[in-house]
């Protein structure tokens, strides 16, 4: 499927739209309503508090990974407590598929990124140009966390937007849009080239303190999980205005391709507001080509299919016209 001619959501289009016209509240008693209204803000403040005040022996990468795993398990469990759509319910096969992509991401893609990703490239550039940014580690801690998140998200916004507007990058990103339901681990699904590209960032140019990087990484991970989880939240209005949510991201995944050209940011939806690509709405039917579920094999090959087709054409014997 080629990227059709068209434009991203424009300021004129988005300004006229009502604020989440199809949003439904969480079903249940006052305790459940309270929990699913304040869960996301409380977790955000808890993460900031932990990485701000934790003793050095606990502010480590290993603890960060442990928090990430525990958080994923918790959110998987919450999908059963406040389900958003029965049509997105997690099945064994979906979980196995999602876990496969998480495993590929954590092992193979991480290995590749460690050697040829933005981290080593930035280190080499800083060394070659003799760039020193130790001052970044002396600015207020919360500002370091915000800048780390914002700089990465800003880059991701433009990479993601480019993926929806330039065919070679769309070939890399398209497999992610063939998921037919949203779940906690669905953010990891995609062709490995896309997972590598979307992980590139320039925040490494700034020598923030390590725990600021861990805090930013943890918050970014949580936002990526919220935006793919099959959970109905009563997110406060200010939260919906500032942060990417499953509402925004479900619309980004809708089956109508033109509706996917919005809500590109991973964490801060206000970046989309800045550039006029935010649409405050949601969708239940997600996927491409009418909701066709793509196999792992096809997701792995899809990006390279034009090259494979060209190679097959090149190798095929040329037909000799009959005399």
């Amino acid at each position: 499927m080629r990227v059709p001619a068209g434009q991203d959501a424009s300021v004129a289009q988005t300004a006229r739209r009502p604020f989440f016209p199809n949003r439904r509240p969480v079903e249940g008693g006052p305790v459940k309503q309270f929990v699913f209204t304040w869960f996301q803000p409380v977790m955000l403040f808890a993460m900031i508090a932990f990485w701000t005040f934790a003793p050095d022996k606990y502010a480590t990468v290993a603890v960060g990974i442990g928090i990430g795993i525990a958080f994923k398990v918790l959110i998987l469990g919450l999908e059963w407590v406040s389900e958003r759509h029965a049509s997105w319910r997690l099945t064994w096969k979906e979980l196995a598929t999602d876990l496969f992509y998480v495993a590929v991401s954590v092992t193979l893609i991480k290995f590749v990124a460690k050697h040829i990703g933005s981290g080593p490239a930035i280190d080499a550039i800083k060394h070659y140009l003799n760039i020193h940014t130790a001052w970044a580690g002396h600015i207020p801690f919360l500002l370091q966390v915000f800048l780390g998140l914002f700089i990465f998200d800003f880059g991701q916004y433009w990479m993601h937007r480019a993926m929806h507007n330039w065919h070679p990058l769309w070939l890399s990103h398209a497999p992610h849009h063939f998921i037919t339901q949203l779940n906690t681990l669905k953010g990891a699904i995609g062709n490995p080239t896309e997972i590598f590209l979307i992980g590139l960032g320039i925040e490494g140019f700034f020598d923030f303190v390590p725990r600021a990087g861990l805090a930013a990484g943890g918050i970014g991970m949580a936002m990526g999980i919220y935006s793919h989880a099959n959970i109905r939240f009563n997110s406060p209005r200010w939260w919906l205005y500032l942060f990417n949510t499953v509402e925004h991201h479900s619309l980004h995944h809708s089956q109508d391709y033109e509706s996917t050209r919005c809500n590109y940011a991973n964490t801060f939806i206000f970046i989309d507001r800045m550039f006029g690509t935010c649409v405050d709405d949601e969708a239940e039917l997600v996927g491409q080509e009418g909701g066709r579920r793509m196999s792992i094999r096809e997701q792995m090959l899809y990006t390279f299919q034009p090259l494979i087709d060209r190679a097959r054409t090149w190798r095929a014997p040329t037909a000799v016209p009959a005399e």
Partner: protein
């Protein structure tokens, strides 16, 4: 893979095909005919990407890229037939799942990665264990869900889909619009 039952290769395969094959039986109601039973089961297979064929008292199906919420999405191929005995008739089925096989093979795959890639030494082993656990869970859960689905369908408790996604083609019936093939 189905080989003639008598060959040594088939006997050897039978020793390990429990990894991806599920066999089971569900009793029919006292006065339920084989035709009625298979007609009810047939309603379960009216899903996009599913091709089904009825041959007497035997119903076979295959699926290509089934939808996530297809209740039999884990099983890409299957055969169901009704057997009449003195004690009463029963539905016997054999279901094949590449998804189960894939899940089990993912375990040694990530174990191998942990051995090859130094930075994945721990994470590779963790995922190898997770896939082994997930396989065991799926090997028990999915056959149980399939048996429950067949039982409820034969008892008329399973709602029949509003829309039949299938088309009749020749002797067989096939779902619409689903191309491609794959392992999960």
């Amino acid at each position: 893979m189905i080989l003639p039952a008598a060959t040594p290769a088939a006997r050897a395969l039978r020793l390990i095909d429990w990894i991806w094959t599920v066999r089971g039986t569900v009793p029919l109601a006292p006065r339920q005919s084989g035709d009625e039973a298979l007609a009810l089961i047939d309603t379960l297979l009216r899903e996009p990407g599913t091709t089904r064929q009825r041959d007497g008292d035997r119903l076979t199906f295959s699926k290509i890229d089934p939808l996530s919420q297809d209740k039999l999405a884990v099983f890409e191929q299957g055969t169901l037939h009704v057997v009449t005995a003195l004690a009463g008739s029963e539905l016997r089925y054999v279901l094949h799942s590449r998804a189960l096989l894939f899940c089990l093979l993912a375990s040694p795959f990530f174990l191998g990665i942990s051995a090859v890639i130094d930075s994945a030494r721990i994470s590779g082993r963790v995922f190898a264990v997770l896939f082994a656990v997930l396989y065991v869970a799926g090997r028990f859960l999915e056959p149980w869900l399939a048996a429950r689905l067949f039982m409820r369908t034969l008892a008329g408790e399973q709602p029949v889909p509003d829309v039949d996604h299938a088309e009749i083609t020749g002797n067989g019936m096939t779902g619409n619009g689903m191309a491609g093939n794959g392992i999960a």
